[in-house]
């Protein structure tokens, strides 16, 4: 089986490389058969990658411990879900998983776009198959998951595997990496279309639509991946937080930020034919930041709890980045004329300018995160002294930038395209601004003294009102015109322009998340050794340790502390934080217990045992408002899905356009 698996990887690598050459040859020699052959090679590479993945997965699920990868990442008593997760739980398997996703994306992108974008597809094949070949090359020659354990000349198997990292044995971890990979790898598609359009000097904005839709889909996956990662950190790592500004966390955030900037600025290109160079730069930066992030995770550039074992593959990524950025820069420079702006900007106080500001702030935020992540490496390189940069630095730098961005989230939709009059500004701003000020004053009067939190809540009120006003105004117009109820009118409004109102829902989601982030300023934490029967009071809650029970299972041993939680004398529930010791890996870990409520979480950690081993040490966190982050996450997904649905108007236009075009004689512009 191991030979078949490796053969499939090798064939997939060869087919991907062939696809690149055939697509290039087809274009150079104007040979459609070669171009078609390249498309078929993409399909064949996908089949081979799928076969290789199936063989590895089969080995994991059947506990084939003669595979070195299976022996080091799985064990017999592991739950089925986590056995599947072992596929991407290690370096070799995750690179194969990455390659399989890349192959799937290539297959889908090529076969859905081969008619609509027939001029672009050969170049799309080149970019996507090239990236795929790079990763398959790493799997084939540097990180082979099909290596077997040898004892002399014989293949041998160990009795049981070392098991999956205990921290990864959580349902969230079964979903988080695939989502993140779908995001990371998915950005290859819009980049490939953008580069292809650049090379072919594609006229019209059709490719922009395709690129935008693909970007939105992959942005959604990336968002879900990041948010699931945050949730996993919150419920598994047991430090009471969800974002530690770890280099690997930052690596996932960087392309998300530039992708967000692209989704905004691409509107300028669609509506006004502006910012073409900028958009190409943004989508290229997003793609290369994905590759850069992968290099950080696997190449040993920075140290992180999330990083895979340090390996030698970092150098390959550096070369890939140098060559890729070089080629992209060449095409941007050589196609400057094609990328020239078609319209002029009339005023700083306009929707166009707000997009510019939005992009600048997002890029500054991206730079700040990248800067902080790489600063230890740079400081060591330039001064010989490694200067560490932790969460406090990132918070100090990014919080003001993020608040500015939140302000722009509210301001942007209030500006008109081209130019905004003073009267319009006054009319649109007066109520949101007044509510924001009143909110700030009320919070200070109520005793809030945390500056950033007060500003954040005020801005949240501001943005909320602007979004609600947008819905209300539009809804009222439709309500009057078609004499329907306001809720029906709002649905109709959203369906008429799903992209715009889906975008507003995403803005609302960001507001909810900011409410959750600001709530962190009021977190309460307490730690105490507790004997059975002991009580402690934290944040208005009373916690009483009822008992500590110990249980054993084939996979792990666990000690569970049963703690009764009461508030104002009323019993709420018995919470049960755990401490586990996994037999296979001998790694201890803790399982927090969280009581989720809108007003705040009660978060208990079995943090350790007293030095005599008699009593548990319990950490209690009261995290107000944190659940708004997760609620915002759901709204973000909903809003993005709404934005992905074709608008009613666009749908109708799509159906009638060919007939209308045929009826009109094609005449020179100006007729």
């Amino acid at each position: 089986m191991e030979n078949l698996g490796y053969l499939a990887v090798l064939l997939a690598f060869i087919l991907s490389a062939y696809a690149v050459l055939a697509a290039l040859g087809g274009k150079l020699r104007r040979n459609p058969f070669l171009e078609l052959s390249a498309q078929r090679a993409v399909l064949a590479a996908w089949l081979m990658t799928t076969a290789a993945s199936a063989i590895l997965l089969h080995a994991i699920l059947t506990d084939n411990f003669s595979f070195n990868y299976v022996a080091s990442r799985s064990n017999a008593s592991l739950d089925l879900l986590y056995k599947v997760a072992a596929w991407w739980g290690g370096q070799e398997g995750s690179l194969l998983f990455w390659s399989w996703i890349a192959a799937t994306y290539s297959f889908v992108a090529v076969y859905t776009g081969r008619v609509r974008h027939r001029n672009l597809i050969p170049y799309v094949v080149m970019v996507m198959a090239g990236t795929q070949a790079f990763f398959l090359g790493l799997v084939a020659f540097e990180a082979n998951p099909f290596q077997v354990i040898m004892s002399g000349p014989q293949i041998t198997a160990v009795p049981d595997g070392q098991g999956l990292n205990p921290l990864l044995q959580h349902p969230m971890m079964a979903i988080h990496p695939p989502m993140l990979y779908l995001g990371y790898v998915g950005f290859t598609v819009p980049f490939a279309f953008a580069l292809a359009s650049l090379i072919t000097r594609q006229p019209g904005e059709r490719w922009i639509h395709t690129t935008r839709v693909w970007t939105m889909v992959t942005w959604l996956f990336q968002s879900i991946g990041i948010l699931l990662g945050a949730r996993w950190a919150y419920v598994v790592l047991g430090w009471g937080g969800y974002w530690g500004w770890d280099p690997v966390e930052n690596a996932s955030l960087l392309p998300w930020i530039t992708g967000t900037a692209f989704l905004h600025s691409v509107m300028m290109q669609e509506k006004k034919g502006m910012m073409k160079v900028w958009n190409i730069v943004l989508i290229s930066a997003t793609f290369f930041l994905c590759i850069f992030g992968t290099m950080m995770t696997r190449g040993g550039l920075v140290s992180s709890v999330h990083a895979f074992a340090q390996s030698e593959i970092g150098g390959y990524f550096v070369w890939y980045l140098i060559i890729g950025i070089g080629i992209t820069a060449y095409f941007i420079a050589s196609r400057r004329q094609y990328l020239r702006s078609e319209a002029e900007l009339e005023s700083v106080v306009s929707r166009e300018s707000s997009f510019l500001f939005n992009n600048v702030i997002l890029l500054a935020s991206c730079f700040a995160v990248l800067w902080g992540t790489l600063f230890p490496v740079m400081s060591e390189y330039f001064t010989g002294n490694k200067i560490t940069v932790g969460a406090p630095f990132f918070n100090k730098v990014n919080v003001p930038i993020a608040l500015f961005l939140l302000f722009l989230t509210g301001v942007g939709p209030l500006f008109a395209w081209r130019r905004t009059s003073l009267e319009s500004l006054r009319r649109n701003f007066q109520w949101p601004a007044l509510v924001a000020v009143l909110c700030g004053v009320a919070l200070v009067a109520a005793g809030m003294r945390h500056f950033y939190a007060t500003v954040c809540f005020s801005l949240c009120a501001f943005v909320t009102l602007t979004v609600l006003m947008e819905f209300y105004r539009g809804g009222r117009v439709i309500q009057r015109k078609f004499e329907m109820s306001l809720p029906s009118a709002l649905v109709e409004l959203t369906w008429r322009n799903t992209r715009r109102y889906g975008g507003y829902l995403v803005h609302m989601a960001i507001v909810l998340m900011f409410v959750g982030f600001a709530g962190a300023a009021f977190n309460i934490v307490h730690q105490q050794e507790m004997a059975v029967g002991d009580s402690i009071e934290v944040g208005g809650y009373e916690f009483k340790l009822q008992n500590v029970s110990e249980m054993d299972s084939p996979n792990y041993f666990r000690a569970v502390a049963a703690i009764d939680v009461t508030k104002n004398g009323e019993f709420l529930e018995t919470m049960a934080p755990e401490r586990r010791l996994y037999h296979a890996s001998r790694q201890p870990t803790s399982r927090v217990d969280v009581r989720n409520r809108l007003g705040g979480d009660v978060y208990l950690v079995y943090a350790g045992q007293s030095s005599d081993g008699a009593n548990p040490i319990v950490q209690v966190y009261i995290n107000p408002l944190v659940n708004w982050i997760w609620i915002g996450s759901f709204l973000l997904v909903l809003g993005t899905l709404v934005a992905l649905i074709p608008s009613k108007r666009a749908h109708r236009a799509e159906r009638v356009r060919p007939a209308q075009l045929k009826e009109q004689p094609i005449a020179a512009s100006g007729d």
Partner: protein
């Protein structure tokens, strides 16, 4: 037997207790020291929740001892940085190369914001120009191409 061994192991991996100083205070100062435990821990000593963290517990004990001795927060932290190295700092010092660390993100933001008026002025002054392909206006070519694409779609 396995049960007993496991219980003993868990007990050995116990966390020492810091009772004399309020935990919130320990956590506050601990959050200003980067944890250096194995595996590339990028959390702070305050937030690192690795059960057998060999780096966190001694530092928390030293912070606790310093506070009990009446030292100021800064004095306690400086003693920790001096003993465990500058890599335990959570943020760069505002001097030397560290100052660049602080300035660069905000400088990039300011440069970006300063560039916007320039871009607006440039766009405002620029004549509306389109990319030309031979002598046929670009939008005509676009419409022809779109028509061809639509027709080919229908054919397929």
């Amino acid at each position: 037997m396995r049960h007993l061994v496991t219980s003993l192991l868990l007990a050995l991996l116990s966390t020492s207790l810091h009772a004399a100083v309020p935990y919130a205070k320990l956590r506050e100062l601990g959050d200003r020291v980067t944890c250096q435990c194995s595996g590339g821990c990028s959390y702070t000593v305050g937030s690192c929740n690795m059960l057998n963290c060999h780096f966190r517990d001694p530092i928390l004990s030293e912070i606790e001892a310093g506070l009990e001795a009446g030292q100021s927060d800064e004095a306690v932290l400086e003693a920790v940085y001096a003993k465990y190295g500058s890599e335990t700092r959570v943020e760069p010092l505002n001097e030397g190369f560290g100052r660049i660390g602080w300035i660069a993100p905000f400088a990039s933001l300011l440069v970006g914001l300063a560039v916007i008026p320039w871009v607006v002025r440039r766009w405002r002054n620029a004549a509306v120009s389109r990319p030309h392909s031979d002598s046929v206006p670009g939008d005509v070519v676009d419409r022809y191409r779109s028509q061809i694409e639509e027709d080919l779609d229908e054919l397929e």
